[in-house]
């Protein structure tokens, strides 16, 4: 027998429950709100601005097409973008505000591994899908977060792809066998991943590649003469470095000044930037190999990449996009594709769609997948570019997308 007291309590609870706003069904809501932060000021401001261009383009594309189709209805998408000032604390607090005060439906990530690493914890705690194209360090994904999805392939693969190109050259007789490698890397998560990629490849080569110098350096170094002296004394064939732009410029100036020359030279993801060419002189950067996550040259073989390049040029005055804008655009586009696939903005449904879908993509390889065993970070390869004397930097590897044959033994070096 139910007592009158229990009955009235049940009625009160039912009334309270009825009064609560139910999660808006797709048919009832007016728009989809996506929150994001980017480093628009501070140390990463330049790149943050590039990512913003990519985000803006993706949102404009959807809205100009009438909105994002969810559950049979097209809804406009709105980006609530905040400036995280390139600092971890701000990135975290703004993400928290976006989720808990602004009540955004979904999150897009910021740029730079250290910011993504800190910010993604907010997404995990609040159980909201967080798709980012700005965090490449594998340690972010080793935490195996369920709500975190990364579109930047691990830097390990940069080292691996670079070595795959060198290996082909060696097999073609253009590089000596065995060949000696100087592996020099910045003492960061980025540098450590690069080192892993190269040294694991060399370790499995059965002696064809020998790492004879393995040294790291601190960011923003003032003098690399002693380190370069060590490389010079080892008489290596390949000089493979992972460095940020300022260290690349300082180190390569010293490298050139000291009369060094190696058959293969790479500074990881650096090498083809206009700023660097200007700072170092075209003749000093010729032959340098660089690995990037994406290149506009992929437009010739990848329909998604072509579509993006055309859209970008139309919106930004004919300017050719770099990988930063491409990753920004692709991050937002993939999130939209997941919402479309889920047919809802329900967080769990979108998370599931991201985790289980193989998306057509502008990235090298043409597909993007977030596999659980690698912490939901895509594993697409890199494209290797090489600086040519005419100022161009064509893709030389992988072969399927290569625009030129690479030059294996640096012609600047004495025979």
């Amino acid at each position: 027998m139910t007592s009158p007291r229990t009955l009235s309590l049940a009625l009160a609870l039912a009334a309270f429950a009825l009064g609560l706003p139910a999660p808006a069904a797709a048919a009832d809501r007016a728009k989809i709100v996506v929150g994001a932060t980017l480093p628009l000021t501070g140390a990463e401001a330049r790149v943050g601005g590039f990512y913003k261009e990519g985000y803006d383009l993706a949102f404009a594309e959807v809205n100009e097409a009438g909105g994002l189709e969810v559950g049979g209805k097209k809804l406009p998408v709105e980006l609530v973008l905040q400036d995280d000032t390139s600092t971890q604390a701000t990135a975290v607090s703004l993400a928290d505000r976006l989720v808990n005060s602004d009540k955004v439906d979904l999150l897009l990530g910021t740029y730079a591994s250290h910011l993504v690493e800190a910010q993604s914890t907010v997404a995990e705690q609040n159980q909201i899908p967080y798709v980012n194209g700005g965090g490449g360090a594998t340690k972010i994904y080793k935490r195996k977060f369920r709500w975190l999805f990364g579109l930047l392939s691990p830097v390990e693969l940069l080292g691996t792809t670079l070595m795959q190109w060198a290996d082909e050259q060696q097999k073609a007789g253009k590089l000596p066998k065995p060949a000696k490698i100087a592996l020099v890397w910045e003492n960061t998560a980025h540098g450590k991943d690069f080192r892993t990629g190269i040294s694991e490849f060399a370790g499995k080569s059965g002696g064809a590649w020998q790492v004879v110098v393995d040294e790291s350096f601190e960011l923003n170094g003032k003098d690399f003469a002693a380190l370069l002296g060590k490389v010079k004394a080892a008489g290596v064939d390949l000089f493979l470095v992972d460095a940020h732009l300022p260290d690349y410029v300082t180190m390569h100036r010293q490298y050139v000044s000291s009369g060094m020359c190696n058959k293969v030279v790479s500074y990881g993801a650096r090498g083809s930037e206009k700023d660097a060419v200007q700072a170092l002189g075209q003749e000093n950067v010729n032959g340098i190999l660089s690995g990037v996550w994406w290149s506009a040259q992929l437009a010739s073989s990848n329909p998604q990449a072509k579509r993006f390049v055309d859209l970008f040029k139309a919106r930004y005055g004919g300017r050719t996009p770099e990988w930063y804008q491409a990753l920004g655009y692709e991050t937002a586009r993939i999130l939209f594709a997941a919402v479309r696939k889920a047919g809802s903005t329900d967080r769990e449904a979108v998370r599931k769609a991201l985790a289980e879908t193989r998306f057509e993509s502008l990235l090298p390889g043409g597909w993007a997948e977030f596999k659980a065993d690698v912490g939901q970070q895509v594993q697409n390869g890199f494209v290797i570019q090489q600086n040519m004397p005419d100022g161009s930097s064509p893709i030389v590897y992988p072969k399927e997308v290569a625009a030129a044959a690479g030059i294996a033994a640096n012609p600047r070096c004495p025979k």
Binding site: A43, E215, E218, D223, G229, S257, D275, N284
Partner: protein, 291 residues
């Protein structure tokens, strides 16, 4: 043997750079007993000034040095007259001056972000990567030039301090400001001039650094730390000690690669700093004020 010669040459060149960065910091502390935390910001400003003159007017960075010196001198005098002079002197003013000048540094940095964005910049000349053979190794022309200026600067400072009325007044104020007031020396003016000279030396370090490194608004923090190590090692306030300390620091860092992994060589200076502060707080060459 060749390797050791290479390392020795590198160490001497690096010492030139460190010394240039540290002279201004040492001079200001020696006279005013103020640790100028805005030093890093003025180094950054000097780099941007040199870069702007190179980009806009096509002026060679070495020819832009007089303009950089004048502008940063003026900035230093203004900074003293508007802000620093109002701070309490001595130990009581320590935290206040640290906070104030740190604030000035942050202000300079953010102004640079607003004006020039966070992009990395570099001064590129026809001789940026040119080198000359020396003792069997190749030496960058820019680094050689920096070394030359690093040697000339303390000589010029020495002549200024020893042979001119202004220099004698600066030394007198550094030793006993109260007595100087009694004998009619305008102490506030001397302080302002000294702050200006120290700032000009930071500006000089900035434009010289810009010929070697790429830079952005965050540039200067590493330079300030190195300067601090050099000034403490050399004995706060000792100009000659600063030059010698720069050489000791550079030799220690460069030769450390023979026994340490490369990434640890940058820490050698800070280990030396701690050791000197514990074992010989007055610095390796004592606190001979502007000696």
């Amino acid at each position: 043997m060749d390797r050791l010669v290479d390392l020795a040459v590198s160490a001497v060149l690096l010492a030139g750079l460190y010394a240039t960065m540290a002279y201004g910091l040492g001079l200001i502390y020696g006279v005013l007993r103020v640790v100028n935390l805005a030093h890093g910001g003025i180094i950054m400003a000097g780099a941007y000034l040199g870069w702007q003159m190179h980009e806009r007017l096509g002026l060679d960075p070495y020819l832009s040095i007089p303009v950089v010196l004048l502008v940063t001198y003026g900035f230093g005098v203004l900074l003293y007259r508007v802000l620093v002079r109002h701070l309490p002197r001595g130990a009581a003013g320590g935290p206040a001056s640290l906070l104030l000048l740190f604030g000035v540094w942050l202000l300079l940095r953010n102004v640079a972000y607003l004006l020039f964005t966070g992009n990395d910049q570099a001064i590129t000349t026809s001789y940026s990567t040119r080198a000359v053979p020396l003792l069997g190794s190749f030496v960058s022309l820019n680094r050689l030039a920096v070394l030359g200026i690093a040697v000339v600067t303390p000589v010029a400072l020495h002549l200024l301090l020893r042979r001119t009325y202004l220099g004698r007044a600066i030394r007198a104020v550094a030793q006993n400001a109260d007595s100087c007031t009694v004998v009619g020396v305008d102490v506030e003016r001397i302080y302002a001039i000294t702050f200006g000279i120290g700032s000009a030396l930071a500006g000089l370090a900035g434009v010289l650094s810009a010929t070697i490194f790429s830079f952005n608004p965050a540039f200067g923090s590493g330079e300030l730390l190195k300067s601090f190590v050099v000034v403490v090692l050399g004995g706060l306030g000792s100009v000659l000690g600063t030059g010698l300390a720069a050489l000791i620091l550079a030799v220690a860092e460069v030769f450390a690669i023979l026994v340490l992994p490369s990434y640890l060589t940058a820490a050698v200076g800070f280990v030396m700093l701690v050791l000197v502060l514990v074992l010989r707080p007055g610095g390796l060459f004592g606190q001979r004020v502007l000696g």
